[in-house]
Amino acid sequence: MTVLILTAEQDVTADMVVAKLHERGVPMVRLDPADLPGKAVLSADYAHGDFDGYLSVNGHVLSMGGLRSVWVRRPGEPAAHAAEPSAWLTAETRQALFGMLYSASTRWMNHPRRAEQARHKPWQLRVAHSSGFAVPPTVITTAPRVAQQFVQEYGDVVVKSASGPPPGEPPAALPTTLVGPDTDFSGVAAGPALLQRYIPKRADIRLTGIGTRLFAARKAAEPGQVDGRFGETGNGWEPTPVPHRIARAVHDYLAFTGLAYAAFDFAEDAEGIWWFLECNQGGQFGFVELETGQPIADEVAVWLAQRRPGLRIPEEH
């Protein structure tokens, strides 16, 4: 039984898991959908009332009948590396690859349908609230007057992107940034703006959930620091216990969303409350493991190597 990892070749975070699978002697195939067709080859057939399919890349072959699990890490767009790429070729290749994979009986981390829905930040906030997290008041709007009123009501407000930075060259970043009451909000009419009450924080929390296993790390923040991803403070990530209430909320969130893997971001305020900021269904974990020593890659490998859903008791680290 073989693990399939869908990711780009340069993804060294995936390497951390590949190394663990090698240590455990678990067969695996690594495929970047961008290499299909071309470097990679697939074939699926429905004949005599039965289904089967095969994938091969770099001399490694995978049968759908022997598929143990699929890890959707950082895959490229199907056919992106083709000699003559096109939107049509991408669509055709996506049909072939994912149509075949969906036909197999396997476990997903994370299933693309679940992942697609889980990426939507407004939905994340709704699920987070239902799961029992503290969620800062938030608005996403294309009405400048609503944005203005929100800032007037809550005072200290940050703006953040819902989908990430815009693509293009040179690469851009969109750090979470404070906006003041005198800001010109006319641009809100030209694109949805996500505004959220600023949480003065004493630390950033990154919690990685893999199945029922939770790993939390904490990094002290500097006074007035807004986005923990940007700006060097000299503070590092350290392991931190998961409060029981948070663990229960995380398990509820994962159960509702159907995610096998997720990376949660929280802001810890002066009273020690963890405010839910977002949940990245494919969030990075390598930087946390490298700094804290938490065995996250090994836990991902363990999950992928299982032959059926685990019945393990929830644990926190």
Partner: protein, 118 residues
Amino acid sequence: MDRNQADTQVNPKCASQKRRDVMTFTPMWQKVMNSLRPCHVWLGIDHRATAGGSFVRPFTLNYAQPSGQSAAVPPYHFDVSLQLNVLPDGRPAVSDRALLMATGTTTSTAGSQTHFDD
């Protein structure tokens, strides 16, 4: 926006906490870039919309800035047999913790250009 709905999202314990005075600011990069050229020009994209006959830039893009991510070639390459990246001496790149920390390829902002899960 339903304000009552927003208020229900606040943990009661937190709702009563005093708000701190926080300095608001116009990012330095924004001051500099605004004095030079519009955001959509240096980003190489045009996300403007028409409002009353004039172009308006989406609000959130006012806070975009160059990522500063380096396009440097990492000192490892993909090994098709091992199915992971290796150093010039053949060791897996993941065995060199200091290198991974230095290249920043495992951080929460890595890969954000093509994948918005960070």
